[in-house]
């Protein structure tokens, strides 16, 4: 393993890697900082640009966007009390209070410092845990993959919030969409309506650009919220070593919380951030300061949400299960590069995977450098009005969808899914379940049918293999957990 890590490090050392990490990080921070633009959108929009790149360069650029956007959310949270991403909502409480007290510079530094430590911690965990997981997973056969995909699909239940039925409906429609094209086992065309473009199935990238970019833009236009908030003035103020030391325990603890939460599919950065914040407040010697400008609060929230970034890649790379919308898109980006996430990834693309994992540490170091020296530039960019950004993003959406196959049909697909995403989200249907189902549906179906071919149609194959059975049980828990939680919280209320 050590030699793999060293090799990964050596492969990483190339100018082009660093240039694209730098660019990706800039884009990520800007997308994170602009309220309404998210990490998900950044990764979806820029995936087409990575097609022609070397896998390492392309994936590292996308990961930089992911980490950068997670950190970038804190900038606007601190300066204008509008978290750029939901995961920075907890940061806004203390960050904006500090800005008003004239310590905005300190708050920004703490957010950056905590984000970096959280991100590096998480990247290290990925580097050491993922290979072990992958080794266990190499013994998996079709039944295990079916159970895994099933588990991935049950995440729909936890990410749908209060609308489990609506999430399920979206998931089911997603699975139907994934059926379009040639059946992978018998080669029979399915749901193609004799349309020659549909025989190959729908391309993932246009679908997700439509669902996550176009639909968001239309929603923004509908709300007409283009106003640019006044960014509070702040003085450049550095953290003292004493302040860093004081918050260090909180940062490490929050990084651990973030990493654990991140490794569980269906959770995400926002939950990690709030849990870390709550925990820091609970053990703090000065809990009364929380919400009124506590540096510890910022440290907890930011280390927590960036602690998620590396850990979400553990189930993604080793088992092929995306935990949320961003990782689902990253899964698509990996597949386009010919790297199918799952147990065989480490065996087939070991060199690339190790370089990416080591690269994630470099990504976080870049984040610190850019956050430290280019912060003024990023703040200027947050003043760019949304009504200018929207047409620019439209341009990127159309060219991005077109770039997948040089096919105009993909643009049509993208625009259709843009409308679908807008209408459904307008009616209170969550969109992410559809994406998860489009990605996991084929794996679930194929592995289930393969398993039944192996067992001659005997379904007991799913219940006699221990790992498979364990995942099926976890899936059951995962489906019913939100329901149980809701019943419990209702009891509490009454």
């Amino acid at each position: 393993m050590l030699s793999n890590i060293v090799n990964g490090f050596v492969n990483l050392l190339s100018i082009s890697n660093f240039i694209f990490i730098f660019i990706g990080m800039m884009i990520g921070i800007v997308f994170g900082a602009l309220p309404g633009l998210t990490a998900t959108m950044a990764v979806a929009l820029f995936t087409p640009i990575t097609f022609g790149m070397d896998p390492v360069v392309g994936i590292l650029m996308l990961l930089s966007m992911y980490c950068g956007a997670t950190y970038g959310g804190s900038i606007t949270a601190i300066l204008i009390k509008t978290p750029g991403t939901p995961a920075s909502a907890a940061t806004a409480l203390d960050g904006y209070a500090l800005t008003q007290q004239g310590h905005g510079g300190k708050a920004l530094e703490m957010a950056l410092f905590a984000s970096t430590i959280g991100g590096i911690f998480s990247a290290l965990m990925l580097l050491f845990i993922a290979p072990l997981m992958a080794r266990i997973a190499t013994s998996f056969g079709p039944p295990e993959f079916f159970a895994l995909a099933l588990f991935g699909l049950t995440i729909i239940s936890s990410i749908s919030g209060d609308h489990v039925v609506k999430g399920l409906i979206m998931g089911t429609i997603g699975m139907l969409i994934s059926c379009i094209g040639l059946d992978r086992i018998t080669g029979v065309p399915r749901l193609t309506f004799n349309h020659r473009y549909l025989v190959g199935g729908l391309q993932l990238i246009p679908v997700l650009i439509g669902l996550f970019a176009i639909s968001e833009l239309v929603r923004k236009v509908e709300k007409r919220d283009f106003a640019v908030s006044d960014v509070a003035e702040f003085s450049k103020e550095s953290l003292t070593p004493k302040e860093m030391l004081e918050s260090f325990v909180t940062i490490i603890k929050s990084s651990i919380i973030g990493t654990i939460i991140g490794a569980i599919p269906g959770t995400g950065a926002a939950i990690a951030s709030f849990l870390s914040y709550g925990e820091a407040k609970r053990v703090s010697k000065r809990p009364e300061e929380f919400g009124k400008g506590s540096l510890d609060g910022i440290a907890a929230s930011e280390a927590g949400n960036n602690g998620v970034t590396g850990a979400t890649l553990i189930p993604l790379l080793t088992l092929g299960i995306p935990g949320d919308a961003v990782t689902a898109i990253l899964l698509g980006s990996l597949m386009i590069q010919g790297m199918i996430p799952g147990p065989s990834l480490f065996a087939q693309h070991g060199k690339t995977v190790y370089t990416i994992m080591v690269g994630l540490i470099a990504v976080n170091i870049f984040m610190y450098i850019e956050g430290k020296f280019l912060i003024r530039l990023f703040i200027k960019i947050t003043k760019v009005p949304m009504n200018f950004m929207i047409p620019v993003i439209v341009l990127l959406c159309i060219t991005g969808a077109y770039a997948v196959n040089n096919a105009y049909f993909d643009v049509v697909v993208m625009l259709t899914f843009g409308l679908v995403g807008y209408v459904f989200s307008r009616l209170g249907f969550p969109v992410t379940p559809m994406l998860l189902a489009i990605i996991l549906g084929p794996t679930a179906e194929e592995s289930m049918r393969q398993s039944l071919i192996i067992s001659n149609g005997n379904a007991s194959i799913f219940f006699t293999r221990p790992i498979c059975l364990a995942f099926i049980l976890i899936s059951c828990i995962s489906i019913f957990l939100p329901l149980i939680r809701r019943v419990l919280s209702k009891k509490k209320e009454s």
Binding site: P48, I49, F51, G52, V165, K166, L168, I169, T172, I173, M175, L176, C179, D183, I185, T186, V188, P189, R190, L191, T192, F193, I214, L217, V218, R219, V221, E222, R224, F226, P385, N387, F388, I390, P391, V392, V394, L395, L396, I398, T399, Y402, A403, N406, Y408, V411, V412, L415, G418, L419, Y422, R426, L427, G428, E445, M448, R449, I453, N456, G457
Partner: protein, 146 residues
């Protein structure tokens, strides 16, 4: 106005039934395998019907009491959003026939005017952005833009 869930639920129910009827004509059955190509789509169709019935029941039970929590529908804003969407569609359609550069230089400023961008700087800024995107895709990524 009736609860939205009732309307959406019925539409999805109809869609689910449509899926069930469509499968025999759209997917050939294969006899040789244990679980054929039709099984999974059928499963999805049934699930869709079941879910839509649950949504319908939920909608009927809640009646109109939930409307307070929902986002208000403002017809003007929705029409504006649709106009924006249709402009984007038109942009994409014309791009296919007239070419990337020409339509971009016409439609992106149009979108900006629609959204109320006042400062001239941004209109000027648009020119290099379009050219950079064109350069990156056409020359660097070898995508044949229309």
């Amino acid at each position: 106005m009736k609860n939205k869930d009732i309307i959406v639920g019925s539409l999805i129910l109809v869609f689910g039934i449509f899926v069930m009827f469509m499968i025999p004509s759209q997917i050939e059955d294969a006899q040789s395998v244990a679980v054929g190509p039709r099984a999974f789509p059928y499963f999805c169709g049934i699930l869709l019907i079941l879910c839509s019935i649950v949504l319908l029941i939920q909608g009927i039970r809640q009646g109109n009491s939930e409307e307070r929590n929902e986002e208000k529908l403002d017809k003007g804003n929705i029409l504006f959003a649709l106009a924006f969407y249709l402009t984007v569609v038109l942009y994409a359609v014309l791009m296919h026939h007239l070419g990337f550069l020409m339509t971009s230089f016409v439609f992106l400023p149009t979108l900006m005017i629609m959204l109320g961008v006042r400062k001239k700087v941004f209109y000027i800024l648009l020119i290099p952005i379009i050219l950079i995107v064109y350069y990156v895709f056409q020359i660097y990524l070898h995508v044949q833009l229309p």
